[in-house]
Symmetry: none
Subunit: 404 residues, 2 copies
């Protein structure tokens, strides 16, 4: 990777990377979601593009959204780990400062003897309502705005989940979880694993005590558990690494947050697909790399809704592919961050179809389709996600020759 | 790589590696140079060979000739860097000894105040004539044959470029450039970055002063700039690594020089393709690995001359492929060091078609062509250049079983 950084040189050419989150799938009646969709525009584009398959992390490895996106931008997630607390904080739309400390929280239920009865504070076997989570987080936030010189920021997630960010001087992330990961035992004290985190452990334990005090009169959800402590990783920016001036257009907070971590300017947009493309068009002159994220396919896959995923692909093809082409980028790349087959109702490890349009690709012989199996015959072949940026830069002629 | 070295065992079988420099291309009217060429012999050969594609360095990385060839011989250029000064010296046909110190030189023009007016000594906007470079190098060589106990060897390159080799005791390559890489500033003093290079820095600065004195009365080209200091890399030989007895047949100095760096015997030949094949035939009994290099395709590609590249492939196919087959090698491999698409007029990052003939390959089903896109369907698949030697050795049964 260091090699790519040494070869990168800026020029006027512009790259558009379109991520259809969860694009790859698995067959139903012999065809995947993408293969089932009626998508004449993508198929015509495929016939004059280079095709291939992106392996998100490695064979058999199913990525979360954080590692999957970092890999696509050239940050091998094994080399650049990002703590769960950070990903959760980005996911609920918090801006995380350089020295902030984040953790994931659960509301939980403890019994009279102080041992954990339910790590997820279920009631009559049902998961906690998100509305209750919102209400409890507001109450905690009101009563615990600050601990010593450390500001406390609490944001609700789904069901029993929330995020807490501690903002103040002298914090560090080398902390153990208070969540023991099992029931019928007491919550653990948070302990530092380096001297630098002593203050953080003290603040964390004080926070847990004060939460317990605030929630003490409740039968369910009378305690909180914290885990996944993390500070913002110090990632070299896309500017530094690739001499790019990059922008992000994404509707969901996590992707906007991840993009900021690698130095992208996050552009405002209205959350619609049409609005996203219009935002790219309006700002095209200002940036030379655009990351454009569409979330909806992944959600259909996670819902196990094969037909909805097909519909979304058809809508993307019919309404948006022509507009993407019209934007006139020097390099247009359409792929996904990972597969989300409806069959699995979850992210998966399967390679993701890749389409790359530039004057400098070799189109395929007799491949006139964009699909998982058509891409096997593609001229790009299988490529690790972390190598994709090198390929995009090369097709934009932004990499110097290596050696003489 | 260490694994391959541990498994290598000599035997009587013979390998012929034919490099068509710059072989890979990009389409014009839907077909690449190789796909356009009428080449019945290569196509017939492809139908009974294993096919694949060679990735020279990594996705998106365009190699220079030096790194590209080292990779083909199993030397990953990230692990075995070769300095620019060495490549330039080999390119002008200089033999570089173990302790010699090389640099690339430019004739440049400085103004009366000593600052650089033109780093390339242009006259009325035109680049320097190579004839003038030859003449000035001869004059410098005559007047500066030696500095203290260090012999000075100067060879002209194209236009304003030349190479200087310092030969004597106690030299080292840890030196900074005198070329500041920009104009309107003074040339820099050469400085050592390790104590071992103190003498080298002193010799280099003395050389620069004496050049300036020799050139002082000129209006243009009254100074020289040096950069890319390097000593010969200490590469383990092909003999040591693979138990081979290797020979090189190449017309161009750089490839002959590179081959010597890895221990090949460089055979004399008349510079023609017919002569090269005859040289291999004559010496076949003496060596078990032949590297046969044809430069011309790359030149046609760099000239942007699609039709000339097609013609050269057709000539190679018609006149020389049958003779290569007749040589009766146990393993015959035809590929390139990199692509040089006429469309780009330059080396490129695109994978290079690979053909491997041996009794132990799996030919393809329904592939009867040697071309960039036919090779995508090949049984060898995509392979890194640095892994090719292992494949050649395996097909010559020169690799033992790994483990029991």
């Amino acid at each position: 990777l260091n090699l790519i950084e040494n070869l990168a040189q800026p020029n006027e050419r512009k790259i558009l990377l379109v991520i259809l989150d969860g694009l790859g799938g698995l067959p139903r009646n012999g065809k995947t979601e993408l293969e089932t969709a009626w998508k004449p525009n993508l198929d015509r584009l495929a016939a004059r593009s280079g095709l291939g398959l992106v392996i998100p992390i490695g064979p058999g490895i199913t990525p979360g959204s954080g590692p999957a996106h970092l890999a696509l931008w050239g940050y091998d997630p094994r080399q650049y780990p990002v703590g769960r607390g950070i990903l959760e904080a980005l996911g609920v739309g918090l801006e995380v400062g350089e020295d902030d400390l984040c953790a994931r929280g659960n509301f939980a239920t403890v019994g009279p003897d102080g041992t954990i009865v339910d790590r997820r504070a279920k009631k009559d076997g049902d998961r906690m309502q998100t509305e209750l989570c919102v209400q409890l987080c507001a109450e905690l936030q009101r009563q615990i705005p600050k601990i010593e010189d450390v500001e406390v920021i609490i944001r609700p997630g789904k069901e029993h989940r929330f995020v807490v960010v501690f903002r103040g001087p002298g914090l560090a992330g080398d902390l153990s979880d208070s969540d023991p990961g099992t029931e019928n035992v007491r919550p653990l004290s948070v302990r530092q694993s380096s001297p630098a985190a002593a203050k953080s452990a003290m603040i964390a334990n004080a926070f847990l005590e004060r939460c317990a005090a605030v929630l003490a009169n409740r039968e369910q959800a009378n305690s909180v558990l914290l885990r996944g402590w993390a500070q913002r990783p110090r990632l070299p920016s896309l500017q530094e690494r690739y001499q790019l001036n990059p922008a992000c257009v994404a509707a969901y907070p996590m992707y906007r947050g991840l993009a900021r971590l690698v130095g992208m300017t996050v552009l405002d947009n209205d959350g619609t697909w049409a609005g996203a493309i219009e935002t790219v068009r309006r700002h095209k002159a200002e940036y030379d790399f655009f990351f454009l994220h569409f979330k909806e396919l992944d959600q259909a896959g996670e819902d196990g809704d094969f037909d909805r995923k097909v519909e979304l692909i058809e809508e993307f093809d019919d309404e948006f592919v022509p507009r993407l082409i019209e934007l006139g980028f020097d390099v247009l790349c359409i792929t996904g961050d990972h597969s989300t087959p409806a069959l699995l109702r979850a992210h998966s490890w399967h390679p993701v179809p890749l389409l790359l349009l530039s004057p400098y690709v070799r189109p395929q012989i007799q491949v006139e389709e964009f699909g998982e199996r058509a891409c096997v015959r593609g001229n790009i072949g299988y490529i690790a996600a972390a190598e994709l940026m090198a390929l995009l830069l090369a097709h934009a002629l932004k990499l110097k020759k290596f050696g003489a």
